[in-house]
């Protein structure tokens, strides 16, 4: 599960987010439904910005699952025993499954899967930065499986309480499967942490590599953003990036430290008064650079996805029927 709090906005929409004027009566009715705790379903009237933002968010989430299968896939042929081998294949498979569920949810908003894939391949639509980093050793897989999944769960559990029915349903299913991901990730993590010195060293080195990307995962602070406030009223965004990051630290710093591993940041501390964690500056410039496509693995990740689409083309063509029309999944 790999949404991440940060939803990338294309430049053009950043400048004029409220360009469409909505019918105030419909808008009020829409807001009232959300306030009553009711879900919005695909054929309901919805504000243009609501639809756009949801498409952007669900699509990025879907892409993150699909691309997210690659760093862990790096070790799929090298998992060190039966238990790990089976779990890793199943987990990477689940990520493809999650991507599939999310593309389907997003299609109900009117964007066909083909178009989403094209926007992924062209770089127009983004996915979570965290997957543009390499899984250097086996220990990286355990860190991804434990901590990146944990971070994602914080985000996804929040989003599953959102307002859009199909997204919530997809997330419910995804969250149920995530329980397995987190458990198997924690299991593999603990085996290294409690293993030989060599294994512990591997693990600590991997934790060091992933610390910054994990902080980046939730996105920069967004408390002040007006845009964010609107999305929260619509229950598109369910918690601020800072709050989710804080929740992650609360839950997982102790679980890392209890096995004698630590994050490489002397400033990572919880203020007992406010309950807030502070940490060193994680270099947000790097974050924006990776979004722009300049991370260590951006090029490879997209090239692999292109390979899969190009290589699968003859298979899809062979099954094509000339009268296929675009259909939108029901719910």
């Amino acid at each position: 599960m790999y949404g991440g709090g940060y939803i990338h906005q294309e430049e053009s929409t950043k400048k004029q987010p409220e360009a469409v004027v909505e019918d105030p009566a419909k808008l009020a009715e829409f807001q009232a439904r959300i306030d009553r705790g009711e879900k919005i379903e695909p054929h309901d009237w919805m504000p243009t910005m609501y639809r756009k933002q949801l498409i952007r968010m669900i699509e990025q989430h879907a892409h993150s699952e699909i691309i997210g299968s690659l760093p862990e896939g790096t070790w799929i042929t090298r998992a060190p025993n039966f238990k790990r081998k089976m779990a890793l294949i199943a987990k990477v498979q689940d990520e493809i499954g999650h991507g599939h569920l999310l593309y389907t949810a997003c299609e109900t908003l009117g964007k066909p899967r083909e178009q989403m894939i094209n926007d992924l391949l062209s770089g127009k639509s983004k996915y979570s930065n965290v997957f543009n980093y390499p899984a250097v050793t086996w220990a990286d897989v355990t860190v991804i499986g434990f901590l990146i999944d944990a971070a994602a769960i914080v985000n996804q559990l929040a989003n599953s309480k959102g307002s859009y029915g199909p997204y919530c349903r997809a997330l419910e299913r995804i969250c149920a499967e995530e329980a397995f991901h987190l458990k198997q990730g924690h299991d593999a993590f603990v085996f290294l942490a409690t293993g030989t010195q060599q294994q512990r060293d591997m693990l600590q080195a991997a934790v060091n590599r992933w610390y910054k990307p994990i902080i980046h995962f939730f996105g920069p602070s967004d408390k002040e953003s007006v845009h964010s406030e609107q999305l929260m009223r619509w229950k598109v965004k369910m918690a601020s990036n800072d709050d989710m990051r804080n929740q992650f630290f609360d839950m997982y710093v102790p679980k890392v430290r209890e096995v004698g591993i630590d994050f490489p940041d002397p400033n990572l501390k919880k203020d007992p008064e406010t309950g807030k964690w502070s940490f060193s500056d994680p270099d947000w410039d790097e974050f924006y650079e990776v979004i722009k496509g300049n991370g260590p693995c951006n090029a490879e990740r997209l090239a692999v996805r292109k390979w899969a689409e190009e290589t699968g083309l003859w298979v899809r063509q062979a099954l094509a029927t000339p009268y296929t029309k675009t259909t939108v999944p029901l719910a």
Binding site: R78, M86, Q93, L319
Partner: protein
Amino acid sequence: MQSLKDFLYTIADDNLILGHRNSEWTGLGPVLEEDIAFSSMAQDKVGLAYQLYQLLHTDMGEGHPDKVAFNRTETQFKCCHLVEYPIGEYDFSLVRHFLFDHAAFARFDMLTKSAYPALAQLSVKVRGELKYHVLHADTWMKKLGKGTEESKARMQTALNEAFPLAMGIFEPVDMEQELIQHGYFEGEAVLKERWLASIAPVIEAAGLKLPEIVHDKTSYGGRKGYHTEYLAPLLKEMTEVFSIDPEAEW
């Protein structure tokens, strides 16, 4: 009984190596839906290998499944050549899956009546699982065989390549007669006939041509530890992490 051990090793090794190969497609398949389906079947194979190694371990005193799978040399493996080949493109992988899983279904169907009770029990479960594999393979064969000019040509080419290799599935273990006498297994020759009878109508329905078998022993050797050039690198890759410290728990 050595012949029974050998027999279980051949099935387990085939499934481990093909499951490993097919898992390479996870995340790279031709469409998401198929990616998921093919991955499940790869997991089934690896899982089946584990259960067979487990039988060998508990009933026959062989090593722990992890040690057996991750710590044997190439010549100790008894898999057939078909499963060792790289995944190639989806045509080859699908045809291999079709040929192999039809044989697997026929084999486990046969083994539900084995005089070795633990194996018969396992076979009942496995047979159900394999029914889906066969349905999946048959559907794909027919769709691609009757798809575009390109898909037809690709499938026929893949079939021509994989079919002779598939003969190696039926290379008997030493002293197979012993297995037959004890009622553990009816023998590879009988199995092969059943296999041919089950694949031929599908190949025909797919509009493809069953290649002729000239020398059916050319792809033999796997059961005796003689392998293609593809197995050694596969094993090296598979055991890379394990080998960092074979005594460590991962």
